[in-house]
């Protein structure tokens, strides 16, 4: 037996196994599609759609109880310690985004710009980074590489969507939510389908019966 019983690795694997079913991505994707659609089509209804997040948790738990726990069991994870390093990385990333935005704004000051210039580019950029914090935290906390990938895509999307002229301002935020939601939903459905095949409900080993 190795003298190193790597508890950190066991913890990481256990946490990873609790998020392998894709259900979180499905719910997050659905919610982002809803919010994005409302932002693009009916922006004045956005505050109401944001409050729908409070309905997500009970629905998510019901889905977990129905499809996940009977297959792989239930685990209550321990509350994590404060991730100082992750907070520092996040703060640095946000600061860089803020400095770049301010730099772009100052560069634009030479010409006459309406305040909407600030709205068109800054709001989507910051929204992209805010969207990225959730997946980034999942990646740091549970070792989910797809969390980092999603965080990078969300951050880039917030910058590229207005820069490439796809949309601007709050519409750009809506478009980003739609794209992020679609990506999350598709990846979640793929993972969930693979999960259902991998863990049939009666597949728990029972050689003693």
């Amino acid at each position: 037996m190795s003298e190193k019983l790597d508890l950190k690795d066991i913890e990481r694997r256990v946490h990873h196994s609790a998020y392998q079913d894709g259900l979180l991505e499905i719910f997050l994707g659905g919610y982002l599609l809803l919010v994005g659609g409302v932002l693009v089509a009916e922006p004045e209804l956005t505050p109401f759609s944001v409050f729908l997040v409070f309905l997500l948790k009970p629905l998510f738990e019901r889905a977990k109880n129905r499809y996940i726990y009977p297959r792989v069991g239930y685990v209550k994870l321990r509350a994590g310690k404060t991730d100082s390093r992750g907070i520092v990385i996040g703060a640095i990333g946000f600061s860089i985004a803020l400095l770049v935005s301010i730099g772009l704004f100052i560069l634009g000051m030479g010409e006459e710009h309406h305040w909407s210039f600030w709205l068109d580019y800054f709001v989507p950029g910051i929204s992209g980074f805010m969207l990225a914090t959730g997946p980034f935290w999942l990646g740091r906390r549970y070792g989910l590489k797809r969390g980092y990938v999603l965080a990078a895509l969300f951050s880039l999307g917030g910058v590229l969507i207005p820069v490439l002229g796809v949309a601007a301002g709050y519409t750009a935020v809506g478009v980003e939510c739609l794209l992020a939601g679609l990506l999350s939903l598709i990846s979640g459905v793929i993972m969930f389908t693979r999960f259902l095949f991998r863990y049939p409900p009666e597949g728990v080993p029972n050689a003693d019966n």
Binding site: E3, I10, V72, Y74, K76, Y199, V204, P205
Partner: protein, 108 residues
Amino acid sequence: MPTTDMDKNLRVIADIDPVVHQPARLMILAILYVVESADFVFLLRQTGLTRGNLSSHIGKLEAAGYLEVKKEFVGKIPRTLLSLTDEGREAFQTYRQSMIQVLEDLPG
């Protein structure tokens, strides 16, 4: 049984907790050590043990006072949760430290 002349290094080996020092039970303890609680099916999946085997080892750990079994209801569905007691956590930590010491002191 340890004698008064036993080398202190051998005494550490002799004092290893036999309840913990069993591969299946060590797996169960290691998994429960890093979580707050888990149910039977989760442990079954994580350890790869059979139902009977897992039940037997859980029984031994519970009898030793290292494991706590709680039954709760989630809606109408019963759920049995397993978690380490304080004694169980201490026993696992002591075992880890003992094994590190034993393996470091072994010749070779």
